[in-house]
Amino acid sequence: MNVIKVENLSKYFGEVHAVDEVNFSVNKGEIFGFLGPNGAGKTTTFRMMTGVLKPTNGQIKIFEKNVWKDPIPIKQIIGNVPEMANVYPDLTGMQNLTLIGELYGVPKKINKERAEKLLKQFELFEKRNFKTRKYSKGMKQRLLLCMALMNDPIILFLDEPIVGLDVQSAKIIKQLLKEYNQNGTTIFLTTHDMEVANELCDRIAIINKGKIVSLDTPENLKKLFQEFQEIDISFNQDINKEEFEKLSSIKKVQKVKDGFSVIVYEVNLAIIQITDFAKTNKLEIKRLNTHQPRLEEVFLKIIERGS
């Protein structure tokens, strides 16, 4: 079931087409990653989806309701952590949370209880009565996430939630996002961090220059680029690199510290050919590891291809 449907979405700033005819949908209960380099249109799309920037064309539907025609009921069921937003620096962590609770119409008693629970969950309870101008970036980001969860949202929108965070904050946030997702929260996440996308997302859309250039699961995206499969190998003695490179399954050989990093066209065939090569040349294979293509490589390849 689609909970978010984006149709022909465009945003123009004068001559600049920040987002251009974007289409995708997000299924119930999934973590949907929206990846792209800086300036690709991620945040503009995010801001249109959360009712901040008005689209030039197209529409965004959440549970079949148009975000821009009927914004209040939709905003009531979503939580969001905008990249370009801040907590109130002159309010304490607790005051920030209860304010958001009040703005979502959370009953007074539940408001305080929920705020306390979230502050504990995100390890901010000790600092709840400190003004947030004294919070670190990681603490502010965790508080923004607490604010997004104050209304117990059905869908969570996160714009670069982990960028620039310390290891502890990033770990806490990733762990809790997984937990919320397991409890049924649908998550829309923009990021340019492949690790985050790979670790968290069920599906990924890659946007570049305002257009979606790919949309699939992380695994399928990696499969698309088999040429990035890599074998890490070392022999008991020096080999003739030129001869080795002539094997038909091998695309590229690169000398590394105590062996070779080999980019192959097809892993299984490459392993057979390398074993034969070793036998023929009376070599002993000391180490042989295969690597799946990293999402980062896939991403760069897709962006390159799109350009």
Binding site: L53, I72, L91, L99, L103
Partner: protein, 268 residues
């Protein structure tokens, strides 16, 4: 099947009557007002315009002049109320645009009207509370107890504070993220209004007074202290009518204009 879909939709989006929607938005506007009062009462522009300017103007306009006590109280109250009730409203939008908190606010289930109303309530409360001080001081010093109509004065303060607050919100319409630039606009508009108003003098002696909303508040205070209005027997009704007209007129204009400029605040 359709019924199932309908039930599901209703469980996600519970139906609310117009009255329920209005009341929930009003409650949320009060939450915004509380937040504004917590944050902005001690900000530089508010302290300067809400506390310092009334004091400076008072001494500049009164020292060396022979002024009847009734005009001292009404003049001081009008100046304090006008400057304090219009001190918070113009800075919240640019301040929050700069702090990036407006974007967080706009993603909450509230309309731009709710945010504006929140700003109005904050200015209204701030102005109303501050203007009580010169009233109490004036009454203690000049003893107007015999002809005092406290109800008229209190209602006058509340209505005028609302009216002035609404006027102030319009000053933050330009989509700036610099409170200082809004302050310049504020000063350009507010100061001339003070200078054309009949502060510390009879209303009849200032022909241009009719175009200033302060005039009608001064007349209410004069009436509350002495029982006489400059506009005749129905003067007090005219005062309230015009102040409400100013208030609601500027409020609806603010809804319209802020709605138009809001998007420009999120271009960055």
């Amino acid at each position: 099947m359709k019924e199932v879909v309908k039930i599901k939709e209703e469980s996600i989006f519970p139906k609310k009557s117009k009255i329920e929607q209005f009341s929930s938005q009003m409650k949320r506007s009060i939450a915004i007002a509380k937040k504004n009062l917590r944050i902005y009462y001690n900000k530089g522009p508010v302290v300067i315009q809400g506390f310092l300017f009334p004091g400076i103007f008072f001494f500049a306009m009164t020292i060396g002049r022979e002024i009847l006590p009734i005009y001292i109280i009404s003049g001081l109250m009008a100046m304090v109320l006008f400057l304090s009730a219009t001190s918070i409203g113009p800075i919240t939008f640019p301040w929050e645009t700069r702090q990036k908190t407006l974007e967080r606010l706009i993603t909450c289930p509230i309309s731009i009207k709710t945010i504006i109303l929140g700003d109005v309530w904050a200015s209204f409360l701030f102005g109303s509370i501050i203007s009580i001080v010169p009233l109490i001081l004036g009454l203690l010093i000049f003893s107007f107890w015999s002809s005092l109509n406290l109800v008229i004065i209190i209602v006058g303060i509340l209505v005028s504070s609302f009216s002035f607050s609404c006027i102030s919100i319009i000053l933050s319409v330009p989509p700036s993220d610099t409170p200082a630039s809004t302050m310049i606009l504020t000063v350009i508009i507010k100061f001339p209004l003070i200078f054309i108003s009949p502060l510390f003098m009879p209303i009849e002696s200032v022909p241009s007074a009719m175009i200033s909303p302060l005039t009608y508040f001064i007349d209410i205070i004069n009436f509350g202290l002495s029982g006489n209005s400059a506009f005749g027997s129905f003067g007090i009704l005219i005062d309230f009518g015009i102040l409400l007209l100013f208030g609601f007129g500027f409020l609806f204009l603010s809804f319209k204009l802020h709605g138009k400029t809001l998007q420009k605040r999120f271009r960055g």
